[in-house]
Amino acid sequence: MKIKKNIPLIDQHDKNGFWGGKFGGSFIPETLKKPVEDLTILFEKLRKDKNFIKERDYYFKNWVGAPTPFFKLRNLTNHLGGAEIWTKVVSEANGGAHKIYNATVHCLIAKKAGKKYVVGDTGAGYAGKMLSMAAKKFGLKCKIFMGAKDIERQKPNCDAMRKNGAEIVPVYTGSQTLVDAVSECMRYWVSNCDTTHMCVGSTVGPNIFVKICGWSTSQISRELFIQIKKEFGGIPKKIKLLNCVGGGSSSFGFWNEFMHYNKKQIEFVGIEAGGPIKSKRHAAPLTYGSKIGILHGAAQYVNQDIEGQIEETESISAGLDYPGVSPLHCFLKDAKRARYTAASDEEALKAYVLVTKFEKIRPSLEPSHAFAEAIKLAPKLSNDTVIIVNSCGDAHKDRDILKQRLGKL
């Protein structure tokens, strides 16, 4: 399996929508064939349209807030020794996480498609919060599907969604988390695809949704590329880009612009959710060698039993608590361009404590998984290595969990 040069990764699929011949595709009911085809044609047209790009960039700059800050974590670096640790604080984007890029683009597309309604799934509540914000901004009515368990554990984001006028539909089936929310959202779209635009909250789902999301979050690495050159006067010889991976939208966006660099110069490290140390129900299909299966319309590595039932996962971070992962990451793994590992709940919490003790940033539980790996790696590396962590979410949404687990904030 090989990555081609000079073609964006999102376009390196075959005519059936498969990356590397086996990841992705569009396993959808007949009813969705036409809406998916319409969306595909529209998106391919828009991404070539200069005016649309101008519009996107206008909102990214003036509404989302571009670029998000990039700086060195001096105290943490000094404390740990070894490699330099830097961060791109994507959580400074409007709304507090990278989910704003995908949500903004989807609402712009929905407007062009003449749709008045937009629906989406959410786990941590960020995808839902951002979609509700963008929907409000662009005058669309918004419905968000969210697992009942997540509604309980991510209350601040639910409050924000409601404040933006979105309706939250609680999902009570299965594990009552993200996987069930995505299923329910797709079911809703099957029934309402004539009037409603669907936004999938990460680089998952049928092929076209993977592409739109990856195209949107790539803004992160476009900014980072310029920022690195400015800070270092060029691209340093040894960089490691660390990012947590749930569905994989933030990590893909963090890496895309650097895809064609040699991995010895710029290494990609994806950190999945290992779950509680004592639990086997991890949310880390790439780390623990899960088999390929079909989930939510795409072939991917996914936690499943021998017969093909999707397995429940367990993670302290609702945003990473998903049994599957983007076909793009499956491709990056098999092409050996990226490396994947997992951090446990406990490691993520410890990382949160250490980072907030030394620095002014407050990463949410998702990026705390990536910081856990940075903390592990840095002391072992020489000081000419630059570790950059995407701090893609703000801990405000996790205040209840943090209070419960750490006793204070």
Binding site: F27, E30, T31, L295, A299, Q309
Partner: protein, 265 residues
């Protein structure tokens, strides 16, 4: 001639649509699931049996309830084939169609899955999330083993696409009546559904086309002149209701199917 084709022929002779039932394998128990099939076979012309998947992206509440109930009871794919086989041994001429999601076929292996179908004497297959043209290869494999692959059409399917799908179809095609998951309320007037149905028949009048999604005891009569009607959620709902009322689901479901059949006879 396939037993599916024979069933349609028989119904045409009786000047009525074929009655196609849908139940979930292992609902509410493995034993009852088989009992229900055996019992309703007296009134139904073709029986659909769903194999289970816990992420069903196109099923409504009623069928999800049945699926989760059966999964909780531990029903596996192996059990589904066992139920199918036992049913076919009792009713060798009654067509049985398995329906489900592609991941189970993928994990079982396409060839192995078809071998299992063959050994259990399954007559046809519906795969919800394997649309045309992605299903071309698999449909060919089915044909080679004399298993009917049922292509689906929906209100969003363009005429051009319909023509191509019908050309690749086997003995039966399935028209999804409206934009909906299974078990939605019939939100389109039957007249409108029949208009679309007639468009399909115009493309190939010899192809057996059944109508499904949202059809109940109330509306089934409107489709009296079609080739066939599928009823699923109403049956699944009856099982749930029977359990809640501590009644026997086998007798209750049989009563319902009997009534449905009467309405179109």
């Amino acid at each position: 001639m396939s037993s599916i084709n024979l069933a349609f022929k028989h119904c045409k002779k009786e000047k009525r649509p074929a009655l196609i039932t849908f139940t979930v394998a292992g609902d509410n128990t493995k034993k009852n699931s088989l009992k229900i099939l055996n019992s309703i076979a007296k009134y139904a012309d073709i029986l659909e049996l769903s194999f289970l998947h816990n992420c069903p992206i196109a099923d409504g509440g009623q069928i999800q309830n049945s699926t989760y109930r059966s999964l909780r009871n531990g029903t596996t794919l192996k059990d589904t084939f066992k139920i199918a086989k036992k049913f076919k041994n009792n009713n060798p001429n009654k067509p049985l169609i398995l329906m489900g999601y592609y991941n189970l076929i993928y994990q079982n292996g396409e060839n192995n899955f078809l071998k299992n179908c063959k050994m259990s004497k399954v007559d046809g297959l519906i795969v919800v999330d394997l649309p045309w043209p992605e299903n071309k290869n698999f449909a060919k494999k089915c044909k080679k083993m004399s298993i009917n692959f049922v292509q689906l059409l929906s209100p969003t399917t363009s005429k051009e696409r319909m023509k191509k799908i019908i050309k690749d179809s086997h003995d039966m095609i399935y028209y999804i009546s409206m934009l909906s998951t299974t078990g939605g309320k019939l939100k389109v007037p039957p007249k409108k559904i029949l208009e679309n149905y007639n468009k399909i028949k115009k493309i190939n009048k010899n192809k057996n086309c059944v109508i499904g999604f949202g059809i109940t005891n109330k509306s089934i009569k409107s489709f009296k002149n079609s080739d066939g009607v599928v009823v699923g959620s109403e049956i699944c709902k009856e099982i749930t209701k029977s359990l809640n009322n501590r009644q026997n689901p086998v007798t209750n479901v049989t009563d319902i199917v009997k009534k449905l059949r009467k309405k179109i006879s």
